[in-house]
């Protein structure tokens, strides 16, 4: 942007009701119109560096500490990378149980994102006062929805605990399989809780679908643009969350690449580093950072898949896909996709646990390190997660590269913020409802920036307008 004396920057910091700490700056041109907007991630964790020198078999337990919301996703991507370093095929039951835990993780995290973080916007409105626009305000205004949302998250967390031993930061998946088999009692307990969870998912979908017309404007402006999409599928193109292959499609639904394993996908992706954010911006190398920007996560997964593969979710999937002739481009529909994935996850958990083989005690393949590089992946709630390890002959890590889902949505999130700001913000109208939409647009992606969760409350939001010399010329402070 050319340095004009009239050019201004609007800063939203911190962005609230996302997992982690971030700020948004909106850059106004000399004409007072939005020129550009940026989503800054202000945290630096350093896992890639301080894991160097550790043994790869420790990594599932170490990297599960990256995040308190999706520890399972890191544990499973790490164990998958470990499987590849051992060069073993893990027992069927281990893969089955890892899938169940990953789906339970997706269910609980999606429930957190939808009910705790985003539904206050959807149900109470973007212009509701911040003091009430949170999960507590939701519980006061819509107690049944809040209660069901909390119970649904509890279902996912309890299933993780029953299978992996701990709800958060379990050390259960290891290179070669898992370290504990499933008891019949635990399986029965999970299956017994399924019907209520499925009912919640269906009721929420019914309500959300009915409310869609009232969110038409958001659907058009909250990051509605063409990008590539990447997500995991089964060999026949159905939705998959673990142990599958990746598919990339373009904005018209055409296949760009299909049935890629993690290593094949990794070589297709480049990363751009911006001086203003700790979050790297991956893109498809062959197309460059602009054309090669892609989205991952629920919306992307439902766009790349031909079907979910479970009966109830497939009924809803058909309605979802009818929103658009090609892939669904509006990032607002991450919410819709998230709800469908909850339903799919619950149904698939039932299928996976109905098979008696889930109780087999043959859950670990033992081997020594047989390769020097292993790239593993899982579909985390927020999208594809890669763990890329290089080790020495003793299995000690010489390089660690974690490519996280939120990072892969980075370019799209910046575009979404710019689009929302252009639609709603003008220099002379700095009211909160408009700025809340910028935050809500980011929230649709459910970015997870660290291990910290701010589920129960609204963090202070400060918006500042700076001129090109850095002087503050306007300020809104929610704490005031």
């Amino acid at each position: 942007m050319k340095a004009e004396t009239m050019a201004q920057t609007i800063t939203i910091e911190p962005v609230s009701r996302v997992e982690g700490h971030a700020k948004i700056t909106i850059h106004l041109g000399p004409d007072g119109q939005v020129q550009d907007a940026r989503f800054h991630v202000l945290e630096f964790r350093g896992f890639e560096k301080f894991c160097e020198g550790r043994h790869f078999q420790e990594m599932p337990a170490i990297t599960s500490r990256v995040c308190g919301i999706c520890p399972v996703s890191h544990m499973l991507a790490s164990a998958d990378a470990g499987d590849r370093l051992l060069a073993v095929e893990i027992p069927d039951t281990a893969l089955r149980l890892r899938r169940v835990v990953n789906l339970a993780q997706i269910v609980q995290s999606h429930a957190l994102s939808f009910f705790y973080l985003s539904s206050p916007d959807l149900l109470l409105g973007y212009d509701a006062p911040p003091a009430a626009r949170n999960v507590l305000g939701l519980a006061a205004a819509h107690p049944e929805i809040a209660r069901r949302g909390i119970r649904l998250r509890q279902f996912g967390q309890t299933a993780i605990e029953l299978i992996a031993g701990k709800r958060i930061h379990a050390s259960w998946a290891i290179a070669g399989g898992v370290n504990a088999s499933l008891s019949a009692a635990a399986r029965d307990q999970i299956l017994a809780a399924l019907p209520e969870a499925i009912e919640t998912a269906r009721l929420t979908l019914d309500w959300f679908r009915a409310s869609l017309p009232s969110h038409d404007e958001e659907a058009r402006t909250f990051g509605h643009f063409p990008t590539l999409f990447m997500g995991m599928v089964t060999p026949d193109g159905s939705l998959e969350s673990y142990g599958g292959r990746l598919r990339i499609i373009d904005a018209h639904g055409r296949l760009v690449a299909d049935q890629l394993d993690a290593a094949q996908a990794r070589v297709l992706l480049g990363e751009r580093v911006e001086p203003w954010s700790y979050l790297k911006s991956p893109f498809l190398k062959a197309l460059g950072p602009d054309e090669g920007a892609y989205r991952v996560g629920p919306l992307a997964r439902l766009n790349v898949a031909q079907r979910c593969g479970t009966p109830l979710a497939d009924e809803e999937f058909a309605r979802f896909r009818s929103l658009s002739a090609g892939p669904v481009l509006g990032s607002f529909h991450y919410h819709y996709a998230r709800l469908i994935e909850i339903l799919f996850g619950l149904e698939r958990i039932g299928e996976l646990l109905d098979d008696p083989s889930c109780l087999s005690t043959d859950v670990l393949a033992r081997a020594s390190r047989n390769r020097l590089r292993g790239i593993g992946m899982s579909e985390a709630p927020r999208g594809t997660l890669f763990h890329d390890y290089t080790v020495d002959e003793d299995g000690l890590l010489t390089s660690v590269d974690l490519l996280i889902a939120t990072g892969q949505n980075n370019l799209a999130m910046n575009r979404a913020v710019t689009q929302i700001a252009k639609a709603y913000l003008h220099a002379d109208r700095l009211d909160e409802g408009l700025l809340n939409r910028v935050e809500a647009g980011i929230r649709a992606f459910d970015p997870c920036l660290s291990c910290s969760t701010h589920a129960a409350g609204t963090m202070p939001l400060v918006v500042e307008v700076h001129d090109v010399n850095g002087a503050t010329i306007g300020r809104i402070d929610r704490r005031a």
Binding site: G53, E58, A61, S171, W172, D394, G395, L396
Partner: protein, 236 residues
């Protein structure tokens, strides 16, 4: 055998000749915290956690290394002792890189147990954060010097029970390291019999099995082996 009579915490107790204060205290259910001590191995006196007060001496004595003497008056628990013991555990935690949350020995670690028993929830000393390597050259086990407290249980069990003396200690002060053979990679050791005793007696996660996410060390096999050997249980 003659019997020695002494006073511990105001209680008159009797001890077999040659018994240490620690032996006598344990025999009478008087708790003294320890870390380097392990039943069945020789005493080393390295950790200083078993320090006790002996009347007539201004210096604190290690209960494991001090013989019970006729008429001795011993105090095993006082504000002064608690302060020192707490400092010792804090210094151990600050000396190397003890991160319980990602350690294989989490919830099965004697250093962690000591910290918990003392209500230690933070360390006042600056972490030294040394950059120490791991040796993963052995096919089954790893030694992570970051978690080593230099108790030398591994050295003693290897020497006294297995008879291999693969492990020893090199250097002094904060440079001290447990080494295998002549400071060669463990996997290249000619003396190591891969018996795994060292891994089982390690009180922390410094010695652990590859692929393990949790460990249950249970070092009581040492007393069993020694007893069986002394009583010739295996001789036909």
């Amino acid at each position: 055998m003659s019997v020695t009579t002494l006073t511990i915490n105001g209680r008159l107790v009797s001890a077999a000749e040659g018994a240490s204060i620690l032996d006598v205290a344990r025999e009478h259910d008087i708790h003294i915290p320890t870390l380097c001590h392990l039943d069945g191995l020789s005493e080393h006196g390295a950790c200083r956690l078993c320090l006790v007060e002996v009347a007539g001496s201004s210096k604190l004595q290690a209960a494991c290394m001090t013989k019970a003497v006729e008429g001795m008056v011993v105090t095993t628990d006082s504000e002064r002792l608690r302060t020192y013991r707490r400092q010792i555990v804090e210094l151990l935690l600050a000396e190397r890189n003890h991160v319980c949350s990602v350690c294989v020995a989490n919830r099965a670690c004697e250093l962690q147990d000591l910290a918990v028993s003392m209500g230690l929830h933070h360390v006042r000393y600056e972490p030294q954060a040394p950059q120490l390597a791991m040796d993963a050259s052995h096919p089954r086990w790893i030694i992570d010097h970051n978690r080593c407290v230099l108790c030398t249980r591994c050295v003693r069990v290897c020497d006294e029970i297995e008879g291999a003396h693969t492990w020893d200690v090199m250097g002094r002060g904060r440079q001290t390291l447990v080494i295998s053979d002549m400071n060669e990679p463990w996997g290249d050791s000619a003396s190591c019999t891969s018996c795994g005793k060292c891994v089982r007696v390690c009180p922390t996660g410094a010695l652990f099995e590859k692929g393990a996410v949790a460990t249950n060390k249970d070092p009581h096999f040492v007393t069993y082996l020694r007893m069986a050997r002394e009583q010739k249980l295996w001789n036909r």
